[in-house]
Symmetry: D2
Subunit: 308 residues, 4 copies
Amino acid sequence: MTKNALPARIVDEAGLTTLRPISQGAEKWLFRPITCLDHGFVYMCDYMGNDHSIVQAANVSFGRGTKKVSEDDTLIRYLRRNMHTSPSEMVVFKFHCKMPIFVARQWIRHRTASVNEYSARYSKMSNEFYMPPPDELRRQSTMNKQGRGELLTDDQCEQVAEILGDTYRKAWDGYHSCLDMDLARELARIGLSVANYTEWYWKIDAHNLFHFFRLRLDPHAQKEIRVYAEAMARMVKDAIPKAYRALEMYTLNAMTLSEMEIAFIQKHPGVLMTEEELFGAYLPSVDHNEREAREFVEKMKKLSLVKQ
Amino acid sequence: MTKNALPARIVDEAGLTTLRPISQGAEKWLFRPITCLDHGFVYMCDYMGNDHSIVQAANVSFGRGTKKVSEDDTLIRYLRRNMHTSPSEMVVFKFHCKMPIFVARQWIRHRTASVNEYSARYSKMSNEFYMPPPDELRRQSTMNKQGRGELLTDDQCEQVAEILGDTYRKAWDGYHSCLDMDLARELARIGLSVANYTEWYWKIDAHNLFHFFRLRLDPHAQKEIRVYAEAMARMVKDAIPKAYRALEMYTLNAMTLSEMEIAFIQKHPGVLMTEEELFGAYLPSVDHNEREAREFVEKMKKLSLVKQ
Amino acid sequence: MTKNALPARIVDEAGLTTLRPISQGAEKWLFRPITCLDHGFVYMCDYMGNDHSIVQAANVSFGRGTKKVSEDDTLIRYLRRNMHTSPSEMVVFKFHCKMPIFVARQWIRHRTASVNEYSARYSKMSNEFYMPPPDELRRQSTMNKQGRGELLTDDQCEQVAEILGDTYRKAWDGYHSCLDMDLARELARIGLSVANYTEWYWKIDAHNLFHFFRLRLDPHAQKEIRVYAEAMARMVKDAIPKAYRALEMYTLNAMTLSEMEIAFIQKHPGVLMTEEELFGAYLPSVDHNEREAREFVEKMKKLSLVKQ
Amino acid sequence: MTKNALPARIVDEAGLTTLRPISQGAEKWLFRPITCLDHGFVYMCDYMGNDHSIVQAANVSFGRGTKKVSEDDTLIRYLRRNMHTSPSEMVVFKFHCKMPIFVARQWIRHRTASVNEYSARYSKMSNEFYMPPPDELRRQSTMNKQGRGELLTDDQCEQVAEILGDTYRKAWDGYHSCLDMDLARELARIGLSVANYTEWYWKIDAHNLFHFFRLRLDPHAQKEIRVYAEAMARMVKDAIPKAYRALEMYTLNAMTLSEMEIAFIQKHPGVLMTEEELFGAYLPSVDHNEREAREFVEKMKKLSLVKQ
């Protein structure tokens, strides 16, 4: 596993000539890693297609030839608005990523991708474990069973760092002692923690990557995987800017109103209630599920449809 | 739909500079259509990766850096021999294809691909129907319930051509009359036959394309889809020559011996029987299934393990 | 292919004992076909799981044992509201369906399903072609490039019926003449139209079936496939009533507001405009795309946020 | 997570009546766990279909109705011999499994399955870590870079057990101290090792499960995942005995000869060489790749085609 920091760009920039469609925004990011967490990174190492490939794939359905690029934007927005997502499968990205195992375990749940991962059966793991910085050491959220809340005290932060550091050292020393006795690598590694770093190549098409973004850019995603999603989103935003902008407009920054929410707004046309009134009035619509009612109030606030 | 014959190459050959891996063999084929059947074609319109991308993906598993290209061949063969197919998912091809609907219906059964097809709901179909040439007009096979056997007589060939021609004309005239009455396109087209041409973009990774080849290059595949498989195989052979050669060695040109076949050979070491003796002696091994016994005799003939 | 009408229920109702989870609503529908179009049908021929299987799968994530069934509803709604769709993959349905080829061609685009289709290479097709009833013979929509608009005149309806009838007869006679000459079935069938009926077994999990419903219950789906989606939805509604109700609440009957729509509502809190005012005021938000602006007005009407 | 040993069977055996196809072999195994490793298990918790479902799905292709069950066997063998695997997708199994994280990480690579896993973000992990028994503590294989060779000495075994035990205790104590400080669960768990147990529901169709068996029953698979594959294979063998037997005959116990191996046998008809002669004579066929030549010698030995 690559132990040292990656250089700013890991190829020389000469390049070769191709007849394939080019994305200048993707070229800019090729082999240019973004550092993630304390020892991780992600960089784009190959890609296929650009915004216009999406348009072209859609146009074969419409029986149209290639049109003016100026119209690409309208069509790309139309496609996303109407969930015609198959044309965006024609764009593909390949990333080289290095991340802690617990991040890899969440990531791999996205099945519609191709993966080649470093194997601890074949090769020696490296002495790199994720150590969360103090400003990430937060209490269990009281609102969200899977999230983080307030910061720990400085004392507690030090204690956690010490505990994790000790655990990592113990595991690493044990790993080495086992290897020294020539224990098979596939067994020696089982004491290493899920904070240990692994790496892989990951190839995915834009449609499925956008679904990954939808779930992993979300504030409910664990912070440590969000960092990787954000790094890739930054690259993809440059690589297929029109498609990414449409994703923001109609998905990432959109809001879905449920059947009951629509019915409630319908029945109170133009009436602005306070948050409290709204909460109480809406509650019966959702069988008195307070969580769902609170979510509705949040949406109404975002729409400025509450009385101040 | 593109009505006229495609030009020899449908882009100018200037090209742009890219930092991505290049396959010179693939570049050669980009936008260079191969004609298939009477009105069809297939050409490669984009690709990602090359033989070395497969090696690189495998090497991340092995924890190795990039090695000498001279060793790629050994590794690629090792991977295929041992069914380590995931590294070949890192190579992707995109084709633009035009084919009769009945061919498209067999093709689409390969689910691990991305497709954007011409839509008869949006657009007008074209007056192009597949007319089999006389040397394809064969009788129902007596051996193979889904295959073709002997040629028809010349007279019969003429009759078939006339029948199909009439059917196509009738369907086409009807389609037009319906469109003239402004019947919705999605209904007007339902009288068109499965010999009518459609077209699509098709994107697939090398692993899944190889599986397509395995099934569709096979003599049991319908001739009309085999033509497309052969055209694409010709391109892919140039694009990733080492991976394609390994596919031939260990899959396309390989032979699988069943448990019973192994046991039979084992029990008769070095004894050469005539075909007839072999058939009779093997029959009990497969519960007297004559078809399976004949298949065994064929394998033994191929291995020169029968007495002449 | 089954030529005659299916009996009301194609098994005797004895049944056997199983330790598996049961859905009484699914049992009710097993082998009970719903007729679709003129010669088609769909019936459920197997299933796995029920509403509680979804809850149980979610609870393994939460580290909970099985709870009171009374709480299933809350959890199922929570899962859908938050796009936690993987638990619904634990429920599976298998249908036997018979439909025109052009319907099958749209249907098969849903790749995350298992299909075994009748083969025209192995077996003879039957003389059944879809003949749209007069009240389906509509003009090309002027609003929607892939839809239907006004009815044809009675005269035109008769003409269309005659044209299609003639086309089907011609194709069928030709098919038979070719078979009589012993032309291979795989070639003889190529003059048959996409209105010819085929049949298949189709197996899909509830998550992917819900996605199918989302696209194929939509008014923009072609009427002829919608009929099948509606038939299956009727069955699934009984089989997993809680999950289906949640699908309605948060997906089928929901509304998505885009980033620009949210921003517009935000900026005009509590102001009701007429449809026209709204259209004009919103247009700049979407780069003067009239189609998108009209869609916004429709949403605001549905929410009663327009001035009458 | 279920902490205590599972009872012999975790449901009462009453059962309910269903109209669905039944597999008596599967019923026998429902909710009857097989213990795997020191704290793991696997049991079947649901299934769909039986051997006859595979036949029925194939018969829809052949345009046949349901035939005598006595012919099922012939057809099932025909299907597997010819790689017609889609009918076996009509059979589905669902298992509840508990295994160490490093096993789960290999398992999840099989993407064509549905998974719901215990979440360490929502819930507390349990104090269960895989401790390999002494007879599994083997040296790194010298032949196989990912395998195990000879046993360690008794002394070394004790040392390894001590090292792993210490590592697990350290990690567990640290985990608890972090939870006591109310650190978010999603962070507190990152020091736990990949030997820690997790659990999931896993649903897969028979075709993809057979592929899993092919890879994970193989002697090259890590022993710890093979244990789970073997447990499930035992159940599936009873659930769909004909299909499983065909898998053995034509896949698990079969042998594939490469193009070069076929050519070599062909050229030396009936000549038996010693192992050494064979190795030397074959070597040029594979560009002097010794590994591949040794594999050939092994195959010839299995076929009794070497001189003793």
